[in-house]
Symmetry: C2
Subunit: 150 residues, 2 copies
Amino acid sequence: MEKKDSHCDPREVLERKQLARTAPRIAILEKLIRSDRAITVNDLVSEGMDMDRVTIYRTLNTLRDKGIVREIPTSSGTNYYEMACRHNPLHPHFYCTSCRSMTCLPPLAGGEMKAWLTLPEGLLARDLTVSISGLCGRCDGAPVRKEKEK
Amino acid sequence: MEKKDSHCDPREVLERKQLARTAPRIAILEKLIRSDRAITVNDLVSEGMDMDRVTIYRTLNTLRDKGIVREIPTSSGTNYYEMACRHNPLHPHFYCTSCRSMTCLPPLAGGEMKAWLTLPEGLLARDLTVSISGLCGRCDGAPVRKEKEK
DNA sequence: TCACGGATGCAACTCGTTTGCAACAACGGG
DNA sequence: CCCGTTGTTGCAAACGAGTTGCATCCGTGA
Ligand SMILES: [Mn+2]
Ligand SMILES: [Mn+2]
Ligand SMILES: [Zn+2]
Ligand SMILES: [Zn+2]
């Protein structure tokens, strides 16, 4: 019997990249694998991740360095993260500057994004990000900026 | 007699967008127009901009909202800015995660970047960013992270 | 089972950016 | 040319994402 979705299993991913299989890492990976959208550290915390925030930051950095997760910067300073294996192929993202939500956009017609651009000599590319910022459907015209909960 | 480069003149730009022509704004625009690369608030400060940092932030936000400058986010949380009229056409950027330098890349062969992607209904696009992160020529292999001056 | 090196938690910190508020100055009307 | 309105600036304080130092902990490989 073999596992379904083996390529995206937390423990296998960690083993393949020679990372210790610790509880925090597995929990974070499970969350990321389940998510159909890119999420933030705050998303992880507010959805009941028990560990320290610092652990989350460090874990995501590690996973990013190993190419396991993709890091998506925003102009607000908050980074979003998504599993590379789940969010395939590489696609553009839409960031609403009003409600600060991140949406995955359909992959570009015409194949691999990387293929478009030719990088000058001497640059070592790690990651490619295409993102569009603007106002999402709910915010179009009616800003909702920064309502504080509680 | 007519001005050369009239389309990029600070006072004209401000007038066209109905913004008051104040000293700080003109100074910042002049700096941006002269620069062949995208720059940060710190760049502006360290190159002798006299005004308060807050003024720079507010000015850049205003210019961004009016579509005069382009805002380029990075995973380190620092935003870069470039004059839209000077940095034409819209092109990808390379960000070195080691020395944190931003480089303009040649525009994509094959025309306008915007043309590639089709946006789902209900999304109002403001800005498009294509950026590649990795290691630049000077950092390739030899990290220089965060040397503090003085 | 043991020892070692990497991973975690906690507290403090860094730094880019925002906000509140009072003083100020650009600009259009008189 | 002056004046009042309204948008802009400076200052101080706050905010928030992310990092760092250090002691403890625990996964891993032997
Ligand atoms: Mn995505
Ligand atoms: Mn550029
Ligand atoms: Zn929105
Ligand atoms: Zn570099």
